[in-house]
Symmetry: C2
Subunit: 331 residues, 2 copies
């Protein structure tokens, strides 16, 4: 059931359904065509950014649930977290549902951590159905992690843009649907990066560590995957990841794609792409899984990355510890 | 393997070892005799409260690991979280170890959430050994959630005192040791309490909900337990819990004890007792498990509770959603 840091699922947990909702800026990119709901106004009829973020997450959960055909009583647990202090989006979204809630925090790798744990619970017979979801909001993240939006601060070239959006999926047992084959648990990696605007550089070593351990534990190599999908490394972080893995003998350049790099129409001189827990959550739960269902991708490795810093840790001069959890999905 | 919201463990995951470390104020109470390390100075030779909190957590993990006889490579995963924004104590403590890390957030119910998930991973054969740990620090919590210590604000009578301390345990398979029999997952409960100084009143309904569902799912009743242990309801919250369960036909008054109520020598007119993720973590991983090992308690239900608020949610007028996860332990 387990080799190295990878958990193998013998009883074929499957993705029963998935859904995504995104903001107005995200709509202009690939999500415009694939997300279930695209917002005209990122306030989503709420009075604060935080409440809008929570409502998006709750909506994504409801949408995924409805598509699965399950009722609330058929769901055993919600696995969720988000970027806000004390994961209030997830906790308050969980209030809208009657099933139990296990709160997670893994920054922008929450989507893959929740799938890994959800698949484990279903595989082991501890749950019949588990909902995994996360999201983020540009405006709530900016004011929590960086500066008040009203200041209009200039963004440095290595910066990324926190995605406004949420995505969720339901894991259960079924005869058809995308299979969750295994999951590789991440270790905390810290290469000493202290620039809080350069998340890609901070997180790339964690992605490289997990992806290479995944190859080792599963006996696979890059060409076995139609897609090696990271969460929000951005353009610069993706290059670093390719370099780090290439140095160790794994050439992932042919099939590596980063959700943050494809979510916007990135002009590299402008910024590095999307970030945030909602970045990989929206791209995976709309574009990617739709393409898998259509048979375009047969086997993907989804390795979202998270930067485990806070404004306090950075203010105290700490570097940025990062993590990446990976799950292998197959049609 | 599962009934209602309760997961039953068929392969008898056990607590291989446990350890706790506490601060100078906590030393004056029951922990003085039972904790592995008691600090003279709550700064723990660090330059900030947050670094001291992280060091306590890392120390608790190391101590528990050493007692288990396992080396780092024998551990499959660390399940941990804490109260600080972005769970920096847990994330930075995880940097000290080579095994994978799954970050959790469940406020003061992190200890029971981590045991529930850790036991599930071991029971299902997904991990040979899992370390579960959490902690808190009075000074870092005060300045994050309330006021700068230097202000010397008066505390209202319903307030509790965040425990300075950390506790951890190792779950694995063995022929002896305390058994983890089952675990009941918590649901988010919100009774509309908005007073952020009255955590006991906010959390009591969540504890009542989980404890009563546990009785229902397992077919047990209060008298089947030597101890029904909550985490940090405090004196007032404990009374509310007893009332809420009594109203539904469960009289837990004879064997209910709250870690927050026993950790200090509480004079009720002064304050309501201890709180924080470190409260139940230190009391469980020293006093309680030692007494279980000695045969004083044969069967306990450990139901830690968490208040899932943030300063932002409270500032925006939201009430306090709460949760409680429970695990049943037996000698």
């Amino acid at each position: 059931m387990k080799k190295g840091n990878t958990i193998f699922f013998k009883n074929t947990p499957r993705i029963l359904s998935y859904a995504a909702i995104c903001g107005s800026k995200e709509k202009e990119g690939v999500l415009g065509q694939y997300a279930d709901i695209t917002l005209q106004d990122d306030m989503y009829e709420e009075s604060t950014y935080e409440k809008a973020e929570c409502k998006m997450l709750s909506t994504a959960i409801s949408l995924a649930l409805n598509k699965s055909g399950l009722e609330e009583k058929g769901v055993d647990v919600l696995l969720s977290g988000d970027l806000l202090n004390q994961i209030i989006s997830a906790s308050f979204a969980a209030r809208d549902f009657t099933f139990p809630f296990l709160g997670l925090y893994s920054a922008c790798s929450t989507m893959s951590e929740s799938i890994l744990l959800g698949a484990t619970l279903v595989d082991g017979g501890y749950a019949n159905a588990a909902v995994c979801a996360t999201g983020s909001h540009f405006a709530s993240a900016e004011r929590q992690y960086r500066y008040p939006l009203e200041l209009g601060c200039t963004r440095p070239p290595q910066a990324q843009w926190t995605v406004t959006g949420a995505g969720g999926l339901v894991i259960g047992k079924a005869d058809k649907g995308i299979k969750i084959v295994n999951g590789t648990m991440g270790r905390v990696c810290d290469f000493g990066v202290t620039d809080v605007n350069n998340m890609g550089a901070a997180m790339a070593p964690a992605a490289a560590d997990t992806i290479m351990r995944h190859f080792e534990d599963t006996g696979t190599s890059p060409e076995d995957y139609d897609l090696i999908l990271t969460g929000d490394l951005g353009a610069l972080g993706s290059r670093i990841l390719k370099d780090l893995t290439w140095e160790k003998g794994f050439d992932i350049s042919a099939n590596h794609v980063d959700c943050g790099e494809i979510i916007y129409k990135v002009i590299e001189s402008e910024f590095q792409g999307g970030s945030g827990a909602g970045c990989s959550a929206t791209v995976l739960n709309s574009y990617i899984l739709t393409k898998m269902d259509a048979g375009l991708y047969k086997r993907i490795l989804f390795a979202a990355t998270g930067a485990l810093l806070s404004t306090v840790s950075s203010g105290q001069g700490e570097s940025i510890p990062c993590i990446s959890h990976a799950v292998q999905l197959e049609v």
